[in-house]
Each structure stands twice: as structure tokens, then as C-alpha cells.
């Protein structure tokens, strides 16, 4: 069943992308076309096939010794932020009217 505009509004909310009404229409058409492009993989019988999540098999976590090393200096880490206060990134309210904004 094709995605409806209401479905797509829900996806946009989850993806944290505010779409206008006209953009929702365009995105609904796009997503239904793009999903139709995926149909060939639904034709496969894949019960006995293991997934390959990564082209390099047997990847292992890479860790280093737990010793203090130089990181990005604070001023440089903050340099690209649009809004800061002192040593911190500054954001608007997270909680509004007693709930999550």
C-alpha cells in the first residue's frame, strides 16, 4: 500500500525535517517511486542467506590503551557553533510547558 501524506508527515517528524505542505506532497510522490524501485529485492527467497552488513568480514572493535591523549581544544570545538555560552553549546529550551519541546 502506498504511503499517504499523513504517513510521510510522521516520517518527517521522526527525521526531524520540517516539511511544508507542498513539500509533503512532493515527498510522498518521491518516496512511493523510490520504494517501488526496491521491489526486486522482495522477489528473493532469503531465509537461508546470512546478511552482509559490512564488506570487510570479521571486523573487530579497535581499542587503544586507556591513557589520556590530546583532543580537540575547547575553543576549536566551539568555533563552528552558531550559539555558545562560555564553555558550552547554547540551545533553546528542551522542556517547554512541562513536557519535551
Amino acid at each position: 500500500m502506498p504511503l499517504t501524506k499523513q504517513d510521510v508527515a510522521g516520517i518527517a517528524d521522526y527525521a526531524r525535517i520540517a516539511l511544508t505542505d507542498a513539500e509533503l506532497d512532493e515527498m510522498t510522490a518521491y518516496l512511493n517511486d523510490a520504494i517501488a524501485l526496491l521491489d526486486p529485492i522482495l522477489e528473493y527467497e532469503l531465509d537461508d542467506v546470512e546478511p552482509t552488513f559490512h564488506p570487510i568480514g570479521e571486523l573487530v572493535n579497535v581499542v587503544r590503551d586507556d591513557v589520556v591523549a590530546a583532543g580537540l581544544p575547547l575553543e576549536e570545538a566551539l568555533a563552528n557553533a552558531s550559539s555558545r555560552r562560555g564553555r558550552s553549546f547554547r540551545v533553546p529550551a528542551i522542556l517547554v510547558d512541562g513536557g519535551v519541546a
Binding site: R16, I17, T52, S82
Partner: protein, 498 residues
């Protein structure tokens, strides 16, 4: 000695500096001069880093004057796709989201080129966040194909391919998630290589699809690409990229080995595929004939699941993109919507107004495909199809050392002539499967199209971590054709005298 920079192989640039025929500063100025004369038409660059270039060149000249040994690519002009961090430049990914982002550090691939002595000329245009195959989705301006400026250079690394094809720089780096090095290389008539996944560090390259992305070089000669590859792997595994492998080697060592008796695979069904332009098909048949005349055995192979690689890719890549691009929240860096009173509003509006249309489309598709109840149907199934595609390659590479196919079904098309995103996605049919399997591929210009007069590249694909063997076959194909070192005619010779 008078020379034109755009005629010189990288090796001769470095040798000329070492011999005192010209200085590195003169080379840097020649490259800047060529960019000034040519890039108004081509628009490959987003930033030209004149100060960094002259500073690097001055260091090389000082090292030579002090009698120090020069690194292998000393003085070679190079530029970088704008998804690669380089201190002293912005890294924009051709997006409003990162329009004013100043690189906080230098990517390993860029640093290794700098360590090899290159002169950094700047940052190159691309499709926004590498989503596309035209470079038209750049938020700043399109790039024009140097062979015909009404046409696209391909993408997403279109700026990298165009800058090399125009003779503005000798080598450029790009990245390839589904064909984004090989397709623009083909459309611009230059050599472009996607190494095996894991050969080149991805540290400091803005991520699109983390299990698919790979950085690689463009050049006008296979030898220049091999030299860049040697620089990119120098130092071995990068501890800053946990998927990076130790592949340190000299890719020139076997470059000119003969291919007599060695097997090149072809897939007859692919050469009859719908949508393949007749002049591209003819060019492939000619290339096969030339490899056979060079002594290669031509062997028919099959990749039965390749036709479904586009479906698998568009079930996987958007999911990885959605995950990776979640970091662009407008808080730590990137565009921030002004005047918001709540964080959630700021996130959603910053992302809505910072990202362009295609970047939003891909993330929306990824968000849907990863949602509860949908994940198993498409994403997990696609990872299983990936197993089948990888197994196809393993069977084929048990029989042959390389597989030849087109890089792109057509030559470069006119800006705006394909507007349907799904139609553009289908144009990646020949390149996408090697990203899914992780093996290596390279596009080598073989001729100009009989109808269009535009460059056509043949793609060679090789087995995983046999990148040196792939380069040997690419060099053999280059020797057999007559495109080595070609600069787009409208650009050749404009500025850039040494």
C-alpha cells in the same frame, strides 16, 4: 625550459622541480593561473586555497635549496572534493548546512597527500553531501563538463573530475559510494579509481554511507593515479579509521607488467542491456578487442544478481545516510535556524532549511526504511542480497583477474535533461555493485564517442585488495587506447605556462 603544466605527468612535475627546471612556487602559480583562466567556464572549484598552495610550494623549494630529499609527489598540484577536511579551508559538502564550516582538522587522505609533497589548490564542487550523479545538486553552483560546458561532469565527484579534465590540477581526490568517482571520470575523459573498501582511510571525510564510501584519486594518466594511491596508503593502517587496512605498497611496481595470458571477464548480457547507448557499446567492444590484441584472454563471466544491485543499494545507502546525517542538528556546527524558542523546533527547521531537496529525500527514505516493521522487509533483505552479490564476484574472480564493463550507460548529458530522480538512480547500474561488495574499480578513458564526440570510459573491476593488479590492467588498456593525458580541448593551453 618552457612547458605547459597541463601536459606534464605528475612524475615529471616532481622531477622538474628536483632538477631545477622550475620551482614549486612556479608550478603553484601555473596551476593558479590555469584555474583563473579556465574555471570561470568549468566552475569545478568551491574554494581556491592560494595561500596554502604557495606556502606548501615555498616549503618544497626551501627543502630543495637545503639539499633535503624531496617526497615522491613534491610540487604536484592537487585539489580535494569538498567533503574532505583540510585545515585552513571550509568543508561545505556543497551544502548550505555547512556553508561556513571551517575544517577543525585535516582528513587522513588529505594529510597523506600533503606528506607526499603535493601543493593543495583547494576544494572541489560535488553533489550536496555526495547525493547525485550530476553535481547539479550543489547548493552553490553547477559544474560544467570541460568537454562541453552545456553538459554535466557527472557526480557526485564532478568537481574533481572536471578540474583534472580541464588541466587545472594534475590530480584530485574524490569519494565513491555508488560510482561517484568512476562515473564522472568516464564523463570527463579522465582516469578515476575507487580502491577496495578499507584501502584508504575515511577519517575526516564527511560520511555518506559508511559501509560503502571509499576515497580515491583522479588523474589524466593511470600512472598519476597509481602514484596518488601509493601516497594514500603510505604509513599503513590509519588508527583513526577502524575499518582501514594495512595496504602500504608501491603501486608503480607492477604497473607496466604484461597482461599476456591473463584473463579479463566480460558479461555479454550487460553489453546488450537496455539503456546502454550504442556508441558506448561500440566503445566497449573496441576496448575488449584491444585488450585481446594485448594478449589478454577474454572470458565470459556472469554476475547474476548485479541487475538488482540498484534495488539493494537504495535500500542500504539511504539508511546509512540517514544515520550519518543525523549529526547535522545545527547545535555544534552547521546552519542554525534563528529565532527558535524550543530545541525541537530549532532542529527541524535547521535541517529543513540547511539541507537541499535531494539530501532531504535520501534521509526521508532512510528514515522510512529503518522504521519498525519496515526494517526487515527492505534493509535486512538488502543485506542478504549483498551476500549474494558478493558471492557472484567471488565466483567470477575465481576465473578472471578483472572484469570489463561500461562506467556509465551514456556519455555526459545536458544540464537539466534528466529531472526524474529514479531515472538518475538507474544510471549507476554499472558501478554500484562494487560498492556493495567492497571490491575495487577504475574508469579509464578509451575513446571519444562516434556520435557525440564526447569521452567514454571503460570500467575495470578487480577483486578485493587486488588494487595493484587492477592498475596493471588499467595501464594495459590505457596503452592500447589513445586518450592518455588528454586535456579537454576547449581548456588545453589556456594559462598555466611554466
Amino acid at each position: 625550459m618552457m612547458a605547459r603544466l597541463d601536459t606534464l605527468p605528475a612524475r615529471q612535475v616532481a622531477a622538474g622541480i628536483a632538477a631545477g627546471d622550475f620551482t614549486a612556487v612556479e608550478v603553484a602559480r601555473a596551476s593558479l593561473d590555469a584555474i583563473a583562466a579556465r574555471d570561470g567556464q568549468v566552475q569545478a572549484f568551491l574554494q581556491v586555497s592560494e595561500e596554502l598552495a604557495l606556502a606548501a610550494a615555498t616549503r618544497i623549494d626551501a627543502a630543495r635549496a637545503a639539499g633535503e630529499p624531496l617526497p615522491p609527489l613534491a610540487g604536484v598540484p592537487v585539489a580535494f572534493k569538498d567533503n574532505m577536511n583540510l585545515l585552513g579551508t571550509r568543508t561545505t559538502c556543497a551544502s548550505r548546512m555547512l556553508e561556513s564550516y571551517e575544517s577543525a582538522y585535516t582528513a587522513t587522505c588529505v594529510q597523506r597527500m600533503l606528506d607526499a609533497g603535493v601543493i593543495p589548490l583547494g576544494k572541489l564542487n560535488m553533489d550536496e553531501f555526495a547525493f547525485g550523479s550530476t553535481t547539479d545538486s550543489s547548493a552553490f553552483h553547477p559544474t560544467n563538463n570541460p568537454w562541453d560546458t552545456r553538459r554535466v561532469p557527472g557526480g557526485s565527484s564532478g568537481g574533481s573530475a572536471a578540474a583534472v579534465a580541464a588541466g587545472e590540477v594534475t590530480v584530485a581526490l574524490g569519494s565513491d559510494t555508488g560510482g561517484s568517482i568512476r562515473q564522472p571520470a568516464s564523463l570527463c575523459g579522465v582516469v578515476g579509481m575507487k580502491p577496495t573498501y578499507g584501502v584508504v582511510s575515511r577519517y575526516g571525510v564527511v560520511a555518506f554511507g559508511s559501509s560503502l564510501d571509499q576515497v580515491g584519486p583522479f588523474g589524466r594518466r593511470v600512472e598519476d593515479v597509481a602514484l596518488a594511491m601509493s601516497a594514500l596508503v603510505a604509513g599503513g593502517r590509519d588508527r583513526l579509521d577502524s575499518t582501514s587496512q594495512d595496504c602500504e605498497q608501491d603501486y608503480l611496481a607492477h604497473l607496466d607488467d604484461p597482461i599476456e595470458g591473463r584473463a579479463v571477464g566480460i558479461i555479454p548480457a550487460l553489453l546488450e542491456a537496455e539503456g546502454l547507448a550504442p556508441e558506448v557499446r561500440a566503445a566497449m567492444q573496441e576496448a575488449i578487442g584491444k585488450l585481446a590484441a594485448s594478449g589478454a584472454r577474454i572470458v565470459e563471466v556472469d554476475l547474476p544478481n548485479m541487475a538488482n544491485s540498484i534495488a539493494a543499494y537504495y535500500a542500504l545507502a539511504p539508511c546509512e545516510a540517514f544515520s550519518n546525517l543525523a549529526r547535522f542538528d545545527g547545535v555544534r556546527y552547521g546552519y542554525q535556524e534563528p529565532g527558535c524558542t524550543a530545541l525541537s523546533e530549532q532542529l527541524s527547521l535547521s535541517r529543513a532549511h540547511g539541507f537541499g531537496v535531494e539530501a532531504k529525500r535520501r534521509q526521508m527514505l532512510g528514515a522510512y526504511l529503518l522504521s519498525s516493521g519496515v526494517y526487515d522487509k527492505y534493509y535486512l533483505a538488502a543485506q542478504k542480497v549483498r551476500t549474494l552479490i558478493t558471492a557472484d564476484y567471488q565466483r567470477a574472480f575465481a576465473q578472471v583477474d578483472a572484469i570489463l564493463m561500461p562506467s556509465s550507460p551514456t556519455v555526459a548529458w545536458e544540464h537539466g535533461s534528466i529531472s526524474d530522480p529514479a531515472a538518475l538512480y538507474l544510471s549507476d547500474i554499472y558501478t554500484i555493485s562494487s560498492n556493495i561488495a567492497g571490491n575495487c574499480g577504475i574508469s579509464v578513458p578509451v575513446c571519444l564517442g562516434a556520435q557525440s564526440g564526447l569521452p567514454i570510459g571503460a570500467q575495470l573491476q578487480g577483486r578485493a585488495f587486488a588494487d595493484a593488479t587492477l592498475l596493471t590492467f588499467a595501464r594495459a588498456l590505457e596503452r592500447a587506447c589513445e586518450m592518455e593525458g588528454a586535456v579537454a580541448p576547449a581548456c588545453a593551453g589556456k594559462g598555466g605556462e611554466l
